[in-house]
């Protein structure tokens, strides 16, 4: 770390970590390990979402038990420090309610797979990891979420777009004839 013409210049990452750690009041070496020094490819995924319904025969009230299995690769480092950035997990339900929670990896044996269980009054619609796109390193955003039932409207829309494109491309090629 040097001062040159009144400007701070950093000679190495460890010095920078030492400099900013007192201000953040945390050891943030793990952040540099992952974002700057790490070579791992980060990928979060919702592997499965399942639920079952229990109905109380006396009150006729239904309770839904939802299980969400999430995995991460690249983000976790078993040899890293005990602190880790939490990953947001959102679970949406049919009645419009949303549960936002977070998956914090702590301890030496950091899990790369975790199962969350929720007990709610409504059936789940989807589970999504990192819904606010905080972790830009995630290289496959497509598997960050999983819907309970297939959602077909975007499929219809884009299938039609692709079909339209080829219809018009064929007609344009027909100009040659």
């Amino acid at each position: 770390m040097n001062f040159y013409n009144g400007r701070l210049t950093i000679s190495a990452v460890p010095f920078f970590i030492l400099l900013i750690s007192p201000f953040s009041l945390h050891d943030i070496g793990w952040l540099f390990d992952r974002y700057i020094c790490g070579v791992n490819t980060v990928d979060f995924a919702v592997k499965s979402i399942s639920y079952y319904k229990e109905t109380d025969l006396n009150t006729n009230a239904s309770t839904f038990f939802t299980q969400v299995v999430v995995t991460s690769s690249g983000w976790t480092r078993p040899d890293s420090n005990n602190v880790s950035a939490p990953i947001d997990l959102r679970l949406a339900f049919e009645d419009g309610t949303v549960i936002d929670t977070s998956w914090s990896e702590t301890g030496d044996n950091i899990p790369i797979r975790q199962t969350f269980t929720f007990k709610t009054k409504s059936a789940p619609v989807y589970a999504q990891l990192d819904p606010w796109n905080k972790i830009t390193d995630d290289f496959n955003y497509a598997n960050n979420s999983l819907m309970v039932h297939d959602f077909l409207r975007p499929v219809v829309k884009w299938a039609d777009r692709i079909f339209d494109f080829f219809q018009n491309a064929l007609l344009s090629t027909g100009v040659l004839v």
């Binding site: 989807y126 999504q128 819904p131 796109n133 290289f139 496959n140 955003y141 497509a142 598997n143 960050n144 979420s145 999983l146 819907m147 297939d150 959602f151 077909l152 409207r153 975007p154 499929v155 219809v156 829309k157 884009w158 299938a159 039609d160 692709i162 079909f163 339209d164 494109f165 080829f166 219809q167 018009n168 491309a169 064929l170 007609l171 090629t173 027909g174 100009v175 040659l176 004839v177």
Partner: protein
């Protein structure tokens, strides 16, 4: 009777409207081939879109972050799909060449021909029409090679586009000459230049009109309906219908073009035939 391109287009519209059955032949062909091309791609996309919340964003626009992830997990689908697509396009063009002889025969206005006669005409003129298309494609390819290095220059670009357009128009004229006049085509090349105006009117003019009408229909729908999850389904249906009407109108414009081309060629040809005996006397 010496007719101009505007009159030829009017005749073309009438003849294309009378022979409306051909629309469905061309539409059916286009539909089947587009389905062959679109289905494998749509199926691959569907697997990812239907299960993912990110796919829901695709209802309202395009999600580039989702697409990056899709390419990461599935590889470049478009690239692997290319050889198959080229083959399907090639088969489509060959069938179109086969049908072109029948279209000219039906739309030149002299006779009513049945389906089998339509196919017979197609096979009769297939090889001359194929040879002119191959010649046209070769010329276009060579032209593209020649101007390839200069594509950044807008002047060269414009010259290139005009040259491509003239080659296409000349080839169209020669095709009409082969079928209608049953004559060798090189003698007709000069007169082919007069088809340029016709081509712009009947093909590109109608094409742009269709495009503007479709855009207006979709635009008006979304102007009077706020876009949300419930109206988006109706929006998709409007989009599908507008897309198909647009394709049908493009097919209509193609048939107008065939008929107008035949009219322009045939009517002017009659005048030449009428004049020649007087000159001989």
């Amino acid at each position: 009777m010496n007719i101009g391109p505007f009159k030829a287009v009017r005749i073309g519209v009438k003849r294309a409207a009378v022979n409306w059955r051909i629309w469905f032949v061309v539409y059916g062909l286009n539909f089947v081939f587009a389905a062959f091309l679109a289905l494998p791609l749509a199926e691959t996309f569907a697997k990812d879109i239907s299960k993912s919340v990110a796919g829901r964003d695709l209802l309202y626009g395009f999600n580039y972050r989702w697409y990056t992830g899709f390419v990461t997990s599935n590889g470049n689908v478009l690239q692997s799909f290319l050889p198959q697509a080229i083959l399907i396009f090639l088969i489509y063009i060959i069938i179109e060449i086969f049908l072109a002889g029948g279209f000219y025969s039906m739309l030149c206005g002299n006779q009513k021909i049945g389906f089998w006669e339509f196919l017979a005409r197609g096979s009769r003129y297939f090889f001359p029409l194929l040879s002119i298309t191959v010649l046209e494609c070769t010329t276009l390819f060579l032209l593209c090679l020649a101007i390839r290095g200069e594509l950044s220059e807008s002047v060269y670009q414009s010259i290139g586009v005009i040259a491509v357009f003239i080659i296409i128009v000349l080839s169209d004229f020669i095709r009409a000459a082969i079928v209608i006049d049953d004559d060798n085509f090189w003698s007709k090349v000069k007169r082919g230049l007069s088809f340029t105006a016709l081509h712009s009117l009947s093909t590109f003019g109608v094409y742009f009109c269709c495009m503007i009408i479709s855009a207006m229909v979709i635009g008006l729908f979304f102007l009077f309906h706020s876009v949300n999850d419930s109206t988006i389904s109706a929006g998709i249906i409007v989009e599908i219908l507008a897309g198909q009407i647009f394709v049908l109108l493009r097919i209509f414009s193609k048939l107008i073009f065939y008929a107008a081309e035949a009219a322009l060629y045939k009517e002017n040809q009659i005048e030449i035939i009428n004049v020649n005996p007087e000159m001989l006397e």
